[in-house]
Symmetry: C2
């Protein structure tokens, strides 16, 4: 039986055909008017999507490289920083800081829960030396969203800067950088922005630049200053070293698609897909893992008693063509995750629910075929 | 008049059509058997092309990221290191080291000259504390090749490791990593390997791993240990964070093409293209800039008296479709460079020579039309 390949992981996500086509275009040199036009368009487009007027830079790197850039450009040895983590990627902030000799105050909630803005407020009040707070917009490992707006209002009242890993949230769920007073936003390519992995993007507020000016951690490749000088200050749309030309050409096309649909319409689409997926899983008697603030970019579901999670994942992928994601770290084997972000629509959600119904049934788990589908359809059609 | 676009810069270089086509393929998830097969093939292929049995790692980054990885994985604060530079990219070693608080002993020759292996030997003898020597295989900014083989034999007798920036030489000119006792080789994607920019590759000898074990500079994103653990040690063909899937798929195809032609045949092709380009330029009465060991990857030529270098470059690009490169740093405006590496053949060289002849003539420079072409053809046909 033919089943088309569908990628429903929380990144990399499917790349739209016209964006793929850009990946097959002849390469252009980066010190040409032709490339500068691409880079200029990309940076302007990113600022609109990020909802920011702040400097926005692009690095040839995975999202983790963008995170490292925030640590090395903002911190000095001995700094007090606060990491508010609710999963694997939140913990990465602490791990990167530690690798650079900065011990973070690590506030971590039970996985599946969201960080509590009040706790951040309390900790900031208790330690006025904190220079930066690091959080995650959409925690890919658990499917939880942070309340960035509330946290933004809290941090803005202090001298600390707020740094948000929006790698897998940007372009999928609301992120109003300037309105929410977010100083630094880190974004990856292969999620809501719908291009292949390999680009990290960072936007930097005036408050963050002021901190960056006195930050003493060593940096070269990820230096914001070097990159800003080439890309922004000298108005040359240049880069300090060879940029990822093909990915940037793809990003230009992807930005065009995002703006054609409209960022608010995209948020709404994701909100519907998230709600439909959660309704479907609950209708099947499954338990959602994210009991805090579930993210509309990815839904995490507990593997029910009597079901082999690994086998479920493999059946859905290898028999039915749909790649989901398993659990990471402490929830490995205990949850599975359905990515519905980026280039995903109602029928992708419906297909994933149908495949999960079948795969559960094949393992003898009691499922009323179509019950999840009906629940999903009610949300999607409503 | 139609002139096809030809990219004859020393990187990015033209990407072959079947490699471009891979850039338009649907994205696959990186934690799948399908992707692991790609990564396994790529790493094995790179080792054959690098002529090494050493661990070989791939990072989502520009070549400069690969260079930074060598500094941060091999050095500790206060280390004595030796940089032997003959241009802009050689100087980059010193600049990266400096950014990380390591002051290099900086040996730099006049641009256009090659570094002298005897001088390296002398300096190593004078300072036995030197832990690492950094050089450049093919210095893109000047078109000079280093005598890596001789330097390798010298450094191997000491306790220092030899690190070679082979970013724009690998896959174009001879580089026998193990035979020449090179400990660390850094390679970029967009040169001899014929794929779009965005990947950095590093191979690491046992001697280099021993130094890396005691190196104290901070690192996370560029940690060799983390990458080696995922990619090699656990035999999972995994990566510590999302790899650049599309570029790796393109690299797999590019490796196939390289092995189809054969690496020694490729070296020979480049040797011929280099010799033909130099012969043509000299036949036109132009002076070569690289009077040391000219690299067969790129030819640098002095802009003659009475000729406007910027105008020459623009005429060749905008009128005749062939993108060359200008000069960088201290030789900006004084030289132009013809890249003939990667996916380049006899007729590309012939076309570039013809376009340069015409553009020179248009500026009133005395040229006997066809004289450069005849000289090039004699070498290519010989």
């Amino acid at each position: 039986m033919l089943y088309k390949k569908r990628l429903m992981t929380p990144g990399p996500t499917e790349v739209p055909p016209t964006v793929l086509a850009q990946g097959g275009q002849p390469i252009i040199h980066h010190r040409t008017p032709q490339f500068r036009k691409v880079l200029t368009e990309v940076v302007a487009g990113l600022k609109r999507i990020f909802n920011t007027e702040n400097d926005t830079l692009v690095f040839p790197a995975a999202g983790t490289g963008g995170m490292e850039s925030a640590i090395v450009n903002l911190c000095s040895p001995g700094d007090a920083i606060l990491v508010a983590a609710c999963g694997n990627f939140g913990n990465r902030w602490t791990n990167i800081a530690k690798a650079f000799g900065v011990e973070s105050e690590h506030y971590e909630v039970d996985w599946g829960q969201a960080v509590d803005p009040k706790e951040i407020e309390k900790r900031l009040a208790a330690n006025p030396k904190i220079t930066a707070v690091f959080i995650t917009l959409s925690e890919t490992s658990t499917g939880v969203e942070s309340d960035v707006q509330t946290i933004g209002a809290i941090v803005a009242k202090t001298s600390a800067v707020l740094v948000v890993d929006a790698i897998s949230g940007m372009g999928a769920i609301p992120m109003k950088t300037d309105e929410w007073k977010v100083d630094v936003v880190v974004v990856g390519a292969q999620k809501g922005l719908m291009i292949p992995p390999g680009l990290a993007m960072v936007s930097i507020s005036k408050k963050a630049w002021d901190l960056a000016k006195i930050a003493k951690l060593p940096k070269f490749y990820f230096s914001w200053e070097k990159s800003q000088k080439s890309m922004v200050a000298e108005a040359l749309a240049n880069t300090p070293y060879t940029p990822s030309v093909s990915l940037l050409m793809q990003l230009a096309e992807s930005i065009r698609l995002i703006e054609e649909e409209g960022i608010e319409a995209i948020w709404e689409r994701h909100a519907k897909m998230g709600a439909a997926t959660r309704a479907a899983m609950e209708a099947l008697g499954l338990k959602l893992f994210a009991t805090g603030r579930p993210s509309n970019a990815v839904t995490s579901v507990r593997v029910p008693e009597g079901v082999d999670g690994g086998k479920l994942f493999k059946t859905v992928r290898d028999t039915y063509g749909i790649t989901l994601a398993g659990g990471q770290g402490q929830v490995k084997g205990k949850i599975f995750r359905i990515g519905h972000l980026g280039y995903a629509d109602d029928w992708d959600v419906i297909s994933a629910v149908a495949a999960i119904e079948r795969a559960l049934l094949e393992q003898g788990y009691k499922v009323e075929l179509g019950k999840g589908l009906a629940a999903a359809e009610k949300v999607l059609f409503g």
